[in-house]
Symmetry: C2
Subunit: 255 residues, 2 copies
């Protein structure tokens, strides 16, 4: 097998330990190019930068592996890799992460990690986003690295579905001997039950800070949240066609 050209990106920024973990594993599967944000971009969703100029800065973080910091969003990083740095060379695979936190359930919508992976998918590049269910910056990535390696071995053998080139992979926070394997899942129906903490700044102006807790309102056993609770890594085949097909007929009444 010829070596894959692999783009690695994330939303936690160039110095995040999760990025280093992903680069380490990815480099055993191909030639890696890293393009990552120069600041944390969690919660950036599928934002792109159109009102401001973008910049790229080559950095020496991963020894022999070329790495560029970008001042934009995760989706911008992918666009710059594809249309600037690799303009004349195919990218075979995009890996995004390993995110610190959860991209399971509705979190995929808010996730910079998954929007980078999705941007690559829209461009026709097979793409996987990884997230470890541990918000700690210094999380233990040893199980996660095992999971990534195992999945890359499988997917490079079996390939992607021709109509679905995007996988959302979440990894439970467990030791390797507790890890149960992979489950193909649907996205659980959950939401954030939110509130705003209110405070006053030194000029006596009110400000608000978003806080909240995640609620799973889905009782299914075929969901990503269910798999993760049971120590499986969840894989949700995902796409960017947001059409709700089952209601198309119902809404014909509006024509």
């Amino acid at each position: 097998m010829s070596k894959l050209n692999i783009l690695v990106t994330n939303d936690d920024g160039m110095v995040a330990p999760g990025l280093a973990a992903l680069v380490e594993v990815a480099s055993d599967f191909g030639e890696v190019l890293v393009v990552a944000p120069n600041s944390p971009q969690s919660g950036q969703g599928h934002a792109i930068t159109i009102e401001n100029p973008l910049r790229l800065n080559k950095v020496n973080v991963f020894k022999d592996i070329p790495a560029y910091e970008c001042n934009g969003t995760p989706a911008d990083c992918v666009k710059m890799a594809k249309h600037l740095l690799r303009k004349n060379q195919q990218i075979d695979l995009c890996l995004s992460g390993i995110n610190h936190g959860s991209n399971a359930s509705v979190n995929i919508i808010y996730s910079g990690t998954m929007s980078a992976a999705m941007e690559a998918a829209i461009e026709g590049i097979n793409s996987i986003g990884f997230s470890l269910l541990d918000y700690n910056f210094n999380a233990d990535f040893s199980t996660a690295k095992h999971v990534v390696r195992s999945l890359l071995e499988k997917i490079t053998t079996h390939g992607f579905h021709k109509e679905c080139n995007l996988l959302n992979v979440n990894i439970p926070r467990v030791n390797i001997d507790e890890f149960k394997g992979f489950k193909i899942c649907r996205q659980a129906n959950g939401y954030w039950k939110e509130e705003f903490l209110t405070s006053k700044d030194p000029r006596n102006q009110e400000y608000y800070w978003l806080t909240g807790e995640f609620v799973n309102r889905d009782t299914g056993t075929d969901t990503d949240l269910y798999a993760l609770t049971n120590h499986y890594a969840s894989i949700v085949p995902s796409h960017y066609d947001l059409t709700h097909y089952p209601s198309l007929d119902f809404y014909k009444i509006l024509e």
Copy 2:
């Protein structure tokens, strides 16, 4: 029928003419609350603000209609309306727009307008995003206002599907006598063929600016792009479950 409590928001900011057009029509259907960004937020996707404090500023832009500027993203505006300003009162309907530009096809992914509408949908609020296919800040919104009014009359009569509370409505740039009516559509499969303009700043540092053209790679006649080309307003029933169900069985091989 008792009056609806309607939240109106957008991504072009409080002073955008498209917002004024939407507020004007919406106020004939219920009690309107406006919460909009204090600066343009196009391309913000489903970004939320978690690293910085949020602020709300009551403004007097729409006479008797309460309006608040927010320093966050469109999705933040909806969260602040729901969990702060209307914490103890139900919001019956969220209307987002009228966006200046297109949210058809894959543009829904990048759209701040649609992310606001989707945020409301996740919260269980029936929600519609509107976009007029005219990027001009001083676009003529007369056809668009007619379209919004006509759709609100229909939807308040027929109601939303119980499993799909989010509609993505795009309006063609035509005079009212050329407007053909509504089409229920699926999201067309298109993408942005992009490039980066390269230039140098006064300190001789390179910078890049995203540019590109939209490509429709979908030949279907049941898509939003097809409807718009034929002078229909497109309605795509949309959702936030990104699972690609047809490939779930295929990917079981990874388990």
